[in-house]
């Protein structure tokens, strides 16, 4: 999902995740209507999300944060912590597991939020601008992790992203939102050539 500020990208996430109720229309996930469901129910169905402004549990340790996500599908807490450990290793946060979340740097907090969401074993992962504010090397690392998750664990990823490099590298389909409506969709290459997209969002830069 790309689009200018105020296009409604995060609103769309909030609708899917059950934070907002729909005025009209339906949202279906895995053959179930979820537009009237609570956020916790939607999460239980297999939709996990991150927040645009990161919000890990600040006074809890990194591993506790991840284990709270892991609890959802774990029969007991040992299992939840095992899942948390596995995810933290994957996201290079294992060495910081005993730190409190509020002590982490922004990139680490972003990674922790992805970790916490992944610990719920989702089928669909909604990522709200996880690359924003990261250095290129950090972006590359997250891209690599996301690609692996998508391929190996078959997790569908929907991401809102302004970092076009990430969009071009990762996305198979791109939707461009503007004023709450899709103005273009297709492969990254198609979308970046679309004149309406260039006019409303990308500008004249060459992304292809």
């Amino acid at each position: 999902m790309i689009g200018p500020n105020g296009a409604g990208k995060t609103t769309l996430f909030n609708l899917i995740a059950g934070v907002f109720a729909t005025d009209a229309g339906t949202i279906t996930f895995a053959d179930e209507r979820i537009d009237r469901a609570s956020p916790e129910h939607i999460c239980q169905l297999g939709v996990a999300r991150t927040f645009q402004i990161v919000r890990p549990f600040p006074e809890l340790t990194v591993i506790e944060n991840a284990a709270i996500g892991g609890m959802l599908r774990a029969p007991d807490m040992d299992e939840a912590y095992a899942r948390a450990g596995e995810i933290l290793r994957r996201l290079d946060l294992w060495d910081k597991r005993a730190r409190k979340a509020h002590e982490l740097t922004l990139p680490d907090r972003k990674r922790l939020e992805v970790a916490r969401a992944l610990a719920t074993r989702p089928n669909l992962l909604l990522l709200d601008e996880v690359m924003a504010g990261l250095r290129p090397t950090e972006t590359d690392r997250i891209l690599e992790i996301l690609r692996t998750l998508n391929r190996e664990e078959h997790i569908t990823i929907v991401m809102i992203e302004h970092v076009m490099r990430a969009v071009m590298a990762l996305a198979t389909r791109v939707h461009v939102l503007h004023h709450g409506a899709t103005i273009a969709e297709g492969t990254p290459a198609e979308v970046t050539r679309d004149p309406r997209v260039i006019e409303s969002y990308l500008g004249a830069e060459d992304f292809a």
């Binding site: 956020p39 006074e59 809890l60 709270i68 609890m71 450990g85």
Partner: protein
Amino acid sequence: MIAGVFAGVSTRARILVAALAVVLLAAPLVLDRYLLSVLILVCLAAYTGQAWNVLLGFAGLLSLGHALYLGLGAYISAALYVHYGIGPWLSVFPAIAACILVATLLGWLAFRFRIEGVYFALLTIAFAEVARVGFDHIAFTGGAGGFFLPVRSEDQGQWWNLRGGPTFFYYLALLLAGNALLLCALLRRSRIGHRWLAVREDPEAARALGIDVNRARMSALLLSAAMTGIAGVFQAFYANNLFPSQIFDISRSIDIILAPIIGGVGTLFGPILGAFVLAPLGEVLISATGAVGLNAPGTKALFFGLFLMAIIAGVPSGLWPRLAGVLRLRSAPDDHALSHRRDEALPRSCRGGRCFAERRSWFDLRGDRSKRRR
């Protein structure tokens, strides 16, 4: 299960806990009646503080009306004893049931209508005040004139009716406080404990992880109310007299919350340390002010208020995290899969006072904390 509580706790911490337990168990052998009565107050304050801490420290809900459950437990068990001869070991169950019922109503109102933060605290005060005024007019329990339990001489102690001397009440209070600590330590590691912490930290993020926020809050409220109700039963049979203007009073609610605040909200040993500091301090204040002829009403409250201000200004996260740091009650990090089984009561990050500057205050009462954080 009990072993689980101590798994991963450092040897140093285990030794200290064991030493404390031995000292407390042996205390009646050396202490006189007066000092033992102070120690009973300590244990009771540690117990009620632990109960209240479940609500704010674990689930993030501030109650300023916990005297409600204390009073309910006390009045119900006392009434059943005086009027029907039902002993406290049995009447503790209806007392708990009544506390749960009232807490359910309070919780339903609060969570149904999204009453959060300071408004939740006000609601708890309102409930306690309604009980105070209500019990003033219930003739069955003596109304405003007070309700008195028949007193027996101590050598005719009946443990089954909670009739006995200070040693008996001391061990009972110690049992309550010890069990509350074990229960909270277990809960802190359990699934529900983790749900509470998530809800405390950020309700919206908790919801996005599949946690039913209202259910988590309700369970904390009910548990806290039930635990406090048990303290009420103890209180009734220990004091032998009950007055609505005392037991339901907001000052009683404040007494309950002072120990955990001073010791450290959200920690396991905070309420205990706070109780050990406060109850003796209160006694010293009473005798000191009496000695210099200053025993005007409210002197103790004034000094407690000043003390509380000093704590909040100087060590806002309480004395325990600081003391735990000084005693180095932390186990070394290990790569064990169950590394969470270290004692979370001892915040690892609180070294050199760093976390105190960064830590948000417990007394910031706007409903949703998360919206105004980094």
